[in-house]
Symmetry: C2
Subunit: 83 residues, 2 copies
């Protein structure tokens, strides 16, 4: 078994409204910052032991499917590295 860190990034799908990001963008603009757009995402860094990098990636993907992401509104990506 090898120790891996799997990073699961959960983003809203295109077209899904993100009022929190809009609020943050407005607050930055009121502070005088210029920006074109702002998107927010949630990241989960998961330390786990697995037989291989592919195994770690598959298990982290299952965690995203079952709990971390809502497939109706979210897309997710998984990146794995040894720790």
């Amino acid at each position: 078994m090898t120790a891996y860190t799997a990073t699961v990034t959960v983003r809203l799908k295109g077209g899904v409204l993100d009022p929190e990001a809009e609020t943050t963008r407005g607050a930055l603009e009121r502070l005088g910052f210029e920006l074109d757009s702002l998107r927010s995402a949630d990241v989960f860094e998961i330390d786990l032991d697995a037989e291989s990098s592919a195994d770690a990636e598959e298990r982290a993907g299952e965690m995203a499917e079952r709990l971390l992401a809502n497939p109706t509104i979210h897309d997710y990506t998984v990146a794995v590295e040894e720790r």
Copy 2:
């Protein structure tokens, strides 16, 4: 001016309790997943126009200092790429 995307990742500092992450970890374990630990982070992807990559990074860092991160409890990193 060049179009950049600055990615600001905001993490809790080491030693700061993260009850949301603990709840997520417990829920994953109840679903039968095995993991050693789980950390959560917030990511802001900011599209902005800047003179240079260094300029974009500096402005995104200021946004983190002023609004996106709370320096008492958060660390942040900034990554910039052309879009």
